[in-house]
């Protein structure tokens, strides 16, 4: 390879390596150290302390139930929806697209909050309603439990699982099913014997990714688990480092190590599974039409179920937040409640200097972070896709490494690092952490954009006499604009809502939106929380709308 490309490759390996490997190294180092500011002597004390703690066993049990339950729920729901969409005559199929995309715009934290507002035992709206209706003394439902966490997290992971399973189901060769039918097997038997086994890699991939994501999830465990004293690893770690508790970063690092190992292992399995599922999927290029199963009488009830699910996933959280932000205290929607509505929570939030600071910080991080992240992603994706050397392969592995890092664990690693630098407690620490953790989300759309650019387009520019830089500016970047825009939106909207890394790295003065919302929840300020949450959703949505408009303008026909 020519020296310029080789130099670029090694430069990127250095940058990405520093961003992803450094927090892991610091985590390892920290787990064997005496304290956050002074490493001290090598010691295994923290491991002994962490793993002999009697509470630890219960945390592990909770985590296992939570992670497995969540993945099972989301995978089954996704399978059900994907089958309905691709194989049956269910009406209004556009709803499935909505289900798979819109929930990503609603931050997990707020989704969890809205369920807490509905089903918490003291003043959850549904509980209040049920108590009134049936004259009950106690709240019949309690979201602050393991099953509540599984329900909410499962719904949150549904879109991702759907996005993995639906394409696999849509693209597999129907002749496989048809031949089973011809052989005499009925619809149900064909489903069990042929369809599901062929889809097995995709289903397992969705399940594994669900496990990784729920293992790393902090929003639901903190919002729904912690009030009910149900700790999973993420919240257990948080309690070790959160101000107000007895902080112990060494012990946190020691526990974090096993979370990290589990997560990395799962991701390795996931990548093997997706590779296998690509091999399994047999797209026939002939214009085939999957045979559509007539649902008959079940059509409307099933559609009702899908409708309910989309309502729960999209409308409900926003509606609950909006309602809560307007009523003075929790009450069942009624004429009286609507009469009492006012803007006191909104005025309160917009006059609250810390909330405004959090808003300002989040916007800064979203705009600057996404821009820097996308620029880095462009170069990394270019090398990964277009420079096929061993070093480029190394860069690829490095850059997808952080995909498997649970936010809170990597946050602890970064903490060990930033404490040694002047970046500690500055917004730049958050910025670096965000870019490092979310880099794969920028690289992914960028590499698929690069893959679509045939190398001849680039080579012909060189032959025409343009330098590599001119070629980048005039040919590659313009062709990448759709990819750049979608990468930017994805990163910016993730940064606006970022919680797991922020709860570790955020300090007074560097509050961000999600952390501020968490604080409101801890203080029970549901009205203010809802108002700020609506602001957060509005920013996310605006980002997506503006970026889509920009993207359309540059769209290559």
């Amino acid at each position: 390879m020519d020296p310029a490309r080789a130099r670029l490759t090694w430069l990127l390996i250095a940058i990405v390596g520093a961003l992803t490997v450094c927090p892991v190294l610091m985590l390892v180092l920290g787990s064997f150290s005496e304290g956050l500011t002074a490493f001290g002597h090598f010691t295994t004390d923290k491991y002994v302390q962490a793993y002999t703690d009697p509470a630890f066993l219960e945390v592990i049990y909770n985590t296992a139930v939570f992670v497995l339950g969540t993945s099972l729920l989301s995978t089954l729901l996704a399978l059900f929806l994907a089958y309905l969409n691709t194989r049956t005559d269910i009406p209004f199929k556009f709803l499935f697209k909505v289900i798979s995309i819109i929930p990503m715009m609603i931050p997990h934290l707020l989704f969890a909050v809205s369920w807490a507002l509905l089903l918490n035992p003291s003043n959850g709206l549904i509980n209040l309603g049920l108590k009134e209706a049936f004259g009950l003394g106690n709240a019949p439902l309690n979201i602050y439990s393991l099953w509540g966490m599984i329900l909410v997290e499962g719904l949150l992971e549904l879109p991702i699982a759907y996005l993995i399973i639906a394409p696999a189901m849509a693209s597999f060769d129907v002749a496989l099913e048809e031949s089973s039918r011809v052989c005499g097997a009925g619809t149900w038997r064909t489903l069990i014997r042929v369809t599901l086994p062929v889809l097995r890699p995709a289903i397992l991939a969705a399940f594994t990714l669900g496990m990784v994501r729920s293992l790393a999830s902090f929003a639901v465990p903190s919002m729904i688990g912690m009030p009910g004293r149900v700790n999973v690893l993420a919240t257990y770690l948080y309690e070790m480092i959160a101000t107000g508790f007895a902080t112990d970063y060494g012990k946190a690092a020691a526990v974090g190590m096993s979370v990290l190992v589990a997560s990395v292992t799962l991701i390795v399995i996931y990548r093997a599974l997706t590779a296998e599922s690509e091999r399994f999927v047999t797209i026939s290029s002939r214009g085939f039409r999957p045979s559509v199963i007539q649902l008959g009488k079940a059509r409307m009830p099933l559609f009702g179920l899908v409708g309910l699910l989309s309502f729960t996933l999209i409308v409900l959280p926003v509606a609950v937040l909006l309602y809560t932000s307007l009523v003075p205290y929790s009450m069942v929607p009624s004429a009286r409640a609507f009469a009492m509505m006012d803007l006191r929570h909104w005025i309160g939030v917009l006059g609250d200097p810390i909330s405004l600071l959090a808003l300002k910080n989040s916007l800064f991080l979203a705009v600057v972070g996404a821009t820097l992240g996308v620029i880095l992603s462009i170069f990394v994706a270019y090398v990964i896709v277009k420079v096929k050397t061993r070093a480029a392969g190394m860069l690829e592995s490095l850059s997808y490494l952080s995909f498997s890092f649970p936010g809170i664990v990597i946050g602890i690693g970064f903490m060990w690092f930033f404490v040694q630098t002047p970046l500690y407690a500055t917004i730049w620490a958050l910025l670096l952490g965000y870019i490092a953790t979310y880099l794969p989300y920028g690289i992914r759309p960028m590499s698929s954009a690069f893959i679509q650019i045939h190398s001849h387009l680039e080579e012909s520019s060189l032959v025409c006499g343009a330098s590599p830089l001119t070629t980048m500016r005039r040919i590659i970047v313009p062709l990448l604009i759709p990819g750049i825009v979608s990468g930017w939106i994805l990163m910016a909207s993730m940064f606006v809502r970022e919680l797991t890394l922020s709860v570790v790295l955020s300090r007074p003065g560097t509050e961000v939106l999600a952390v501020q919302i968490l604080r409101f929840a801890e203080d029970g300020l549901w009205g203010k929380l809802s108002a700020l949450g609506i602001v957060m959703i509005a920013i996310s949505t605006t980002l997506v709308v503006v970026a889509t408009l920009v993207g359309n303008r540059f769209k290559v026909a």
Binding site: D2, H454, H456, L457, E459, S460, S461, L462, V463, C464, G465, A466, S467, P468, T470, R474, I475, P478, L479, F554, V556, A557
Partner: protein, 361 residues
């Protein structure tokens, strides 16, 4: 401008094996000719072209374009493609989809900082030359395959390159359009005084377009010559077989008579084009199907008159393809579609000695 390639090799490493994409290639491409590199896929023709244009770097050797050394392993010279001043038409045309026709064609001039009014004039001239005037504002994505091909040609020509290179430029077109475009391309290139290097695996394209053809196999150049030389008078069995359909029959040289070489073969005694071969040596007799002439009744003796039986007869439109058995040999023959013959008929045919080629084993 002349291109000289000396001792160029290029290796690829794949799964622990070394593949010689180019194996010590020595070649001089004369100035102002249409020179074709012809070969089956994997023969190294595209790699050689990409080495000339600078998109690949050879592992050994030297490449000169005119008087400039653009690549030399020994002298450590490597001129990047953008500094070589060449024009190239890619297999995919590589028309940039985000630009219109004007910007695509103007690009080579824009990157050379040519004044705007000169650019406008040159682009207009070039588009007129490829018969695409009036298409300046057309978005690149709204062009047909043939139009894309012309825009690609215009872009390759606009900066008046010393050499223009074509990498299988017609392979993405459908059969009918390919034929028309081939004729056009011939006409365009005929009007220009330019060295053109053309890569193809299509023998008809090579024969129709070229002044000279170099036939390649496994990273090596097997034979160079004019289309007629390659077709009628190839020295190598591989070349004779690759350039057209051929019946290849084992033969032994028996005599050298009256400017002809006479061989003994499965067909009997055949008078062939003269070759300097020792009496008694082995050779391969190559007879193209279209030079097998059916004679009515009994033909004149002495000019390779043979008798055989038609084993199969397939109507393919412009001709019959017949398999004629002569002794143990089976010959593929192209017969006039109006010949009244049936399978199983006994036929007599002649082979013109001028079209009986002897090629090396």
């Amino acid at each position: 401008m002349e291109i000289r390639i000396c001792g160029v090799s290029k290796y690829y490493y794949s799964e622990g094996k070394t593949i010689k994409a180019l194996d010590d290639v020595n070649l001089t491409i004369p100035a102002n000719e249409i020179f074709t590199l012809l070969g089956p896929s994997g023969s190294g023709k595209t790699t050689l072209l990409r080495c000339i244009v600078g998109l690949e770097m050879p592992d050994t050797g030297e490449i000169r374009i005119g008087n400039d050394v653009v690549w030399s392993k020994e002298k450590n010279i490597s001129v990047p493609p953008e500094k070589r001043g060449l024009g190239m038409v890619f297999q995919t045309y590589a028309i940039w989809p985000h630009m219109n026709v004007f910007d695509n064609v103007a690009y080579p001039l824009q990157v050379r900082n040519v004044p705007k009014d000169v650019i406008r004039q040159r682009v207009a001239e070039t588009l007129r030359f490829v018969q695409m005037e009036g298409f300046e504002r057309r978005p690149a994505t709204k062009l047909s395959g043939g139009q894309q091909q012309r825009v690609a040609l215009a872009r390759a020509l606009v900066a008046a390159p010393k050499v223009i290179l074509f990498d299988e430029p017609l392979s993405n077109l459908d059969a009918k359009l390919r034929e028309e475009t081939r004729k056009e391309l011939r006409a365009f290139l005929g009007k220009l005084q330019i060295t053109a290097v053309y890569v193809t695996h299509d023998r008809v394209e090579a024969l129709a377009l070229s002044d000279s053809i170099a036939v390649m196999r496994a990273g090596q150049i097997i034979e160079i010559g004019t289309p007629k030389k390659i077709y009628f008078d190839a020295d190598h069995r591989f070349v004779a077989d690759f350039i057209g359909r051929a019946n290849l029959i084992k033969a032994t040289v028996r005599a050298d008579e009256g400017g002809y070489t006479v061989v003994e073969s499965g067909l009997g005694r055949i008078v062939c084009q003269h070759r300097d071969l020792a009496i008694g040596s082995e050779a391969t007799l190559c007879v193209r199907p279209e030079f097998i002439r059916i004679v009515k009744g009994t033909g004149q003796a002495g000019s390779n008159l043979l008798n055989g039986r038609i084993e199969s007869l397939v109507f393919v439109g412009e001709a019959y393809e017949a398999e004629i058995r002569v002794g143990d040999e089976q010959l593929l023959a192209k017969i006039d579609p109006d010949a009244h013959l049936n399978e199983g008929d006994d036929v007599s045919f002649t082979l013109d000695p001028a079209h009986c080629l002897l090629v090396a084993l």
